[in-house]
Amino acid sequence: MKIGLFLCDCGTNIAGVLDIKAIMEHFKTYPEIYVFEDKYLCAELGLNLIADEIKENKIDRVVIAACSFKLHGELFRNSIEKTGINRYLIAFANIREQNSWVHANEPMRATEKAIDQIDMAIERVKLLKPLKRRKAKITPSVLIIGGGIAGIKASLQIADAGYKVYLVEREPTIGGKMALFDKTFPTLDCSICILGPIMVEVKDHPNIELLTYSEVKEVSGYIGNFEITIEKKPRFIFEDKCVGCFEICREVCPIDVEDTFFPRKAIDVSYPQAIPLIPNILEEYCIGCKACEIACGEREAINFSQTKEIKRFKVGAIIVATGYKTFDPTILGEYNYTKYPNIITGLEMERLLNTDGPTKGVILKPSDGSIPKSISFILCVGSRNKKINHEYCSQVCCNYSVKQAILAKKQIKNLDIMIYYTDIRAIGKFCEEFYNRAREEFQIRFIKSNISTIIKSDTSNELLLRGENILDDHLFENPTELVVLAVGIEPAEGTEELAQILNISTDTYGFLLESHLKVRPSDSSVKGIYIAGAIQFPKDIPNSISQAESTASKTIALLTKGEIELDPLVVQYNRDLCDLCRLCENVCVFNAIEIENEQLHIIEANCVGCGACAAMCHKNALTVPGFTKEEIITQLKVITDKKKESPLIVTFLCNWCSYIGADLAGTSKIQYPTNTRPIHVMCTAMIDPALVFEALFNGADGVLIAGCHPQDCHYTTGFIKAENRYESIISMLEELKINNNRVKIISISAGEGQKFADTIKEFSETLKNLGPISKDLKNIK
């Protein structure tokens, strides 16, 4: 066995902290190890180096010490495969995200940790076995969730390429937020004039199946083969019989659903350009008078007995484009949004400006329906605010406020407009020019001040804005008739639930987490599921469309391949060792283990490779390749034999959430102590309690088990299984008189880098107070 160890400097990212020379010297003393170093292993020169040295030295196994395998793992696997080595005979030491970036101020200890990490990878690679990739056919269709501008554009592009698209929209019509606007910035072109025809195109496209008023309820499977369950809410209309002459049924409906900004009848369409142009009856408002049924007449399109429908289908890929909701200013009590009707949000202002809106496009004060003489805009409402965990800038509020101010100025003569801002961020092509026009051409006044509160005047019906004009230290209490709160952007309603259904991760604000902010901004944390538009982060229309088109291209590229190669990470069974105790059968929730006639069978197609069964198997008859007990124990031995730190923490990180969370701590450069040694597992459910005790008995002072939040688990119940095992670990610890604070289980999502760092810090403190493990082990004979 000849092992090639390739070290990456990553410019100064790694070499600026770790002593690469010392590491090389250390490993050069090992027999059968060939050590190489390159400035950038992932670049062409680096990859050539790997290929050349493998051939030159007849290397047959590889260890890469570089960035996280989540970033370039596939790249390195591909390149060794080209040289003829099986792509699974490689192990990675993550010395960037989980070392140099998080231990920038402790180069000595970090270097020692890196040596341990590489040693672990070397020991592991020795035990790895060559594997064959599985192949699977790709279902040539796509699910697109969300029928806003992003979902619409992606649908059309994919459908045009000849693939079947299921476009699912929660509302009765597609069109999303864009359909609610009158004009768009910075061009002031009519929003529905651009969007309307595209919506019609969606409806007429032979490859698009439009599922409005529908929600995704279940998703299972994997890239290339997802199984989808959709629930369609009842409109109480026969969609095939309705001809869209909605005025007729709406006219006769006696029930007005009163809403200042979204008024409608109990039977109505959302707006005249709705697609499909089919009304729906709101069950909670309808009094069952059947006037609409009579008006509909012989068309007989009304169906009061309609119930929800379930629809199931298969797709090869999914695009999530569910968009945003605007920030609810109620929680910022100082604005008194609910108290005074003339304080409205930016989206409500869009409704007042919209020709199809409640006022037919005339700006009227909600309090009395009169035309305002003055309007004030307050920017950054709910944005850039740490207090409410909205530290981010919502990207669009400056621009949309400038737009609304210009439109208002055009509409009302002698209108007095003030825009109160902290910083103007006119981001986007032609937006700075647009902002300048607002100042020059429309003479809109901009005051640099973050308004602290809105109160009502004692003497008039006006509202008073309290602020400090920070350019001259001047305090003011400015009167105004209408206030527009430029509310920020939040992830769409129900994102958390949808993320759970799809098993994809969210960030700290609840937006969908991209796989890599720079190089994979449109990939979710799960292969074959892509994200487009404002559900990833606040975006304007052009940027949403750009991302939608990029996800469409990715999807087309995937479907065009027709076939996909999958990692062979399914459980392997050794009949000779099995005593048919049947413990595994109960623990598998995927029906991958079947015992019939005293014979155990693995149903490979069902196995997801979580390893929950392997952890239960006391005979080691079941194993997940790459994650066998032997392979984990060999890594533990490296850590505990040398025991370079005290307290020493062994950290198990699950593949789907916590490993990525730990990487995020790295990319965010959040520092934490060096005394942790990470071990990658597919799922926390594959951790046999014996491994935990193996670690402790051999000198680890603490063991941390980090996995998904239970509801986000990639294997449905993996983390819950780990939690159950944790309880038995705790009782065993108590029996052995080992302090039970030495083993900790925690949920860390892919978006919780800070939490990971904090957890290591706190756990270190706890263990420091407990003293070394040897103290506890004295109690055991």
Binding site: K387, S452, T453, E468, I470
Partner: protein, 186 residues
Amino acid sequence: MEDLKSDRILEIKDDISDELRKAGYAEIGACIQCGNCTASCPSGRRTAMRTRSIVREALLGLDEVLSDKELWLCTTCYTCFERCPRNIPITDIIIFLRNLAVQRGHILPNHLNLCRMFYDTGHGVPINDEKWNIMRESYGVSRVPPTVHAHPKAVKEVQELISCVGFDKTIAWGKYAKKEEKAEKK
């Protein structure tokens, strides 16, 4: 050329912001000078006090922030903190700046008197006239409240603690006390 003297150039120092950081108020660095604090401040509405300026001066290490009397016009109503979009504990920072001011000898005579009263009696507002005892009795509560007023030993405890933390020295207590003694002798 008189107008072009270098004292027009802002001299930025770090000692005050360093002290703030050391005391655990690193958040102050996140201030974007939006002015919400000033606008929330009821003192700002009637005086020259500008909360935002205090934060700015502290960040830039401008000494006058400690000697300006505006530092003592904050009623610590905490509205600025509640509304600060950066979640900066502005009010606590003002309180900490007052500590620094006192350490550097900036304290008003009235406040010094209060300290003296507190040292002598253990109360910030003590019973200093028999009428208060009579008043207490008339409302059916004990003539002397069960506070330090009823426990001379407790006053000693408070005095001990004041000395322990060095507060007596911080406000030049000894010097102040001696001067008074002298005045009494005369």
